[in-house]
Symmetry: C2
């Protein structure tokens, strides 16, 4: 079987291609139907879910590794990707886990760089849910979105990594604009507000929210209104990219 051969090569020869002991894990956030989602993979052998992760090529900056892995799973490029924490607990990946995995697949090995300790560098990404084409990697049977408040059982410490990512994202929110990658080009103010409310997990006042967002100058109001909605039609907005990027750099002294 093709897959088993590939896997065996990875276990036996991977260290010639990748850096030992170090991996990257991406927490990929999307926003759909007023829910914050995370893209997860289901392992072919164990029934558990995991983050989209991978290894670092011997001559590759880690930011590129994260981008490369993100592209493989989602097809997306040039996405905002933020390094947020290194997870290094010596018990986080064990020889036992790997050997159980191999046993389930039907491969037997004694020695491998994959049995050694790994530390992993956590990144989070903010992507447009509708533009993602989820693609499982070769050790996974499926690749799906999960709502942040309804996560399945996960491998290793991946649940902790998601929790940390969310914490960092919330902190980021106070200083930097958000939404450019998460929403469509044109969006309504209620949609933007729902995004903030979902991430922060609290209600915000409609009118005050609008006033503050507009005062930052990161959005431009369009003449067009959203069609086909019940009740009053909200105006569309789009991001003012120059101001948005300025706010990314400088921060935007904000309080929601």
């Amino acid at each position: 079987m093709e897959f088993e051969k590939e896997l065996k090569t990875h276990y036996l020869k991977g260290h010639e291609k990748y850096l030992r002991h170090v991996s990257v894990d991406n927490v990929i956030f999307g926003f759909y139907q007023n829910n914050l989602k995370v893209l997860l993979l289901k392992s072919k052998s164990a029934g558990l879910w995991s983050l989209s992760g991978g290894f670092i090529l011997k001559d590759e900056p880690i930011d590129n590794s994260a981008q490369r892995i993100l592209k493989e799973r989602t097809g997306l490029e040039k996405i905002f990707l933020q390094q947020f924490h290194v997870f290094s607990d010596p018990g986080r990946s064990t020889k036992k886990v790997n050997q159980q995995f191999l046993k389930n697949i039907g491969v037997s090995l004694d020695k491998s760089w994959m049995f050694e300790r790994f530390i992993t560098i956590g990144y989070y990404a903010l992507v447009n849910f509708t533009k993602v084409k989820p693609a499982p990697d070769n050790i996974s049977q499926s690749c799906e979105w999960f709502s942040i408040d309804n996560l399945p059982e996960m491998m290793l410490d991946h649940r902790d990594i998601i929790d940390e990512a969310l914490k960092s994202l919330r902190l980021q929110l106070y200083f930097h604009p958000i939404g450019y990658n998460l929403l469509e080009q044109k969006f309504t103010m209620p949609e933007l507000q729902k995004l903030y409310e979902t991430i922060l997990d609290k209600k915000l006042d409609r009118r005050n929210f609008q006033r503050k967002i507009i005062s930052t100058g990161i959005v431009k109001k369009l003449k067009e209104t959203k069609k086909g909605v019940a009740h009053k039609a909200p105006f569309y907005y789009k991001f003012d990219l120059p101001n948005y990027k300025k706010a990314l750099q400088a921060g935007m002294g904000f309080e929601l």
Copy 2:
């Protein structure tokens, strides 16, 4: 010579003890005479200065590695130490740099784990300047404090690492109290203000600063005033540890 033998062992056998490809670098901040200082080491061979760094034992969490290294250089334990960024540029450490170093020392080697690529995890520490006993490691001839605005020429990308650490520290300042490790137990309000001004690199209004700090509840005013100063004697304060720690956890919605 004892030192050369030790070094050779490190280059030849170090990978049996430490994780390959990964190191830790500490940016150690202190505060003295109204100056923000960084503790640096001078290499025995090259005349260049570097951060206090080291490697990760095979079974050691990286936070512990950073603490261990900090203790070796300063004698201090249980210090606030914050992981802030991973530096991974493939060109940041090169075989050439290592071989030049060995050549200057008078050791010749062809193969070593030290010639491989390293990524480094940056930590910053806030320590009490007067309590530090700077101790060079065995590849360094000296260990000294430098003012942040008067740094010497540095090895590799260590200058970038300091710059990033300072950025993170400034960000931290908006959410968390600071000073407990940096100042003496008893301190005056002007001293605390100078600390903030130095880190943020901007002037603050004396009276407004005092009001805000007191309103957070992290300090307690003492009856005692500072003696032997020209002009009016300022009161001493000390940190209210329960409130201080609470503010460390919860943040303290702050604006200076």
